[in-house]
Amino acid sequence: MHLAQFNVAHMRAPVDDPLLAEFVAALEPVNTLADAAPGFVWRAIANEDDPEETITHEFGDHLLINYSIWASRETLWNFVYRSPHLAVLQRRREWFQRVAEPYTVMWWVEEGEIPSLKEAWNRLTLLREKGPTADAFTFKEFYEPNGARG
């Protein structure tokens, strides 16, 4: 099984606003890092030719989405928290609003399977409505592929 992760971030301004400039500039290096990271499987890309283009969707305005698939919890963890990605994450308050509800969700997928963006959004909604379950969970409250608490 592979691990899918989906997260949303509420931007403090439109993506082309100077406020977001340093974040947008970090997109290409961080995405390049992700693509080369151990355990990286797939990520949603808006435009093959423009690494700074963000994914369009129907889930709300000023909402940045990030959707990727990884080989394991450990490889995703090491990319998120144990790579230069952490320094970008640490500055999130400069660019994104604080949200009270969960903004990141994970679930297991069959190898080779890439669920739709709509499905990813539904997983986040499930987490927000029911809390962590084997179908929609988080690093802190993690579930193994067999449904056991990690």
Partner: protein, 216 residues
């Protein structure tokens, strides 16, 4: 094995020296190398290294230490590295870890990370100013970071807040960065530590100027 017994396994100067040597390397260490570093014969080093494995402080594995392959390359050598897990002994019993986990959770729930970073900076500055350590590296070593020079950068092999950093990585790593900035400020030294985490190490790295001024 209980915690006290694990820690008590270090109550031998040779064993302590071997443990220090193996853990300072950040890679698997062979018996010959460890024996040489501790200044003891190989069989004695092997005996103590295996005792440290029994105590759960080191982990043993087999690896080829030379590039040679095929017949004549010999069997793989026994190598040692620090075991995962931690051993805390407090007499009388104290449990700061549980309280720290609760408080970290509270900060997270309140969205108080910026306040927590400021507090960490202040406390770091106080610790930095109070310390009698001659160099930044010495201060970091005292505080359990296990600093080492990496091509001019001062990197930290050990995360003193490991359990908390697993539970609340973003909060704890950000607080740790602020604490490190405070330590430097408290010493009255310039320089800008930054986040550059690697798997299995501390997330903070100090730039060249801090490393250089601390070369002995």
């Amino acid at each position: 094995m209980d915690e006290l017994a694990a820690v008590a396994a270090l109550n031998d100067p040779v064993r302590r020296e071997l443990y220090r040597f193996v853990t300072s390397k950040g890679r698997p260490v062979g018996r010959n190398e460890a024996a040489e570093a501790a200044g003891v014969a190989r069989p004695l080093a092997a005996f103590h290294l295996d005792k440290l494995v029994e105590a759960g402080l080191l982990e043993a594995d087999f690896a080829r230490l030379t590039e040679k392959k095929g017949p004549g390359s010999g069997r793989p050598a026994k190598v040692y590295r620090r075991a995962p897990g931690e051993h805390v002994v407090s007499v009388p019993p104290r449990d700061y870890r549980t309280l720290a986990l609760v408080l970290a959770e509270v900060v997270d729930l309140l969205g108080g990370d910026e306040v927590a970073e400021k507090a960490a900076h202040r406390i770091g500055a106080r610790l930095g100013a109070e310390s009698a350590a001659a160099t930044l590296a010495e201060l970091l070593a005292e505080r359990g970071y296990e600093p080492y020079d990496d091509d001019g950068l001062l990197r930290l092999r050990n995360c003193p807040f490991h359990v908390l950093a697993q539970e609340q990585p973003l909060l704890v790593c950000s607080m740790n960065l602020s604490l490190c900035r405070g330590l430097l400020e408290g010493r009255g030294e310039p320089g800008a530590p930054r986040l550059d985490p690697r798997p299995g190490e501390c997330c903070v790295v100090f730039p060249q100027e801090n490393s250089k001024t601390n070369q002995s």
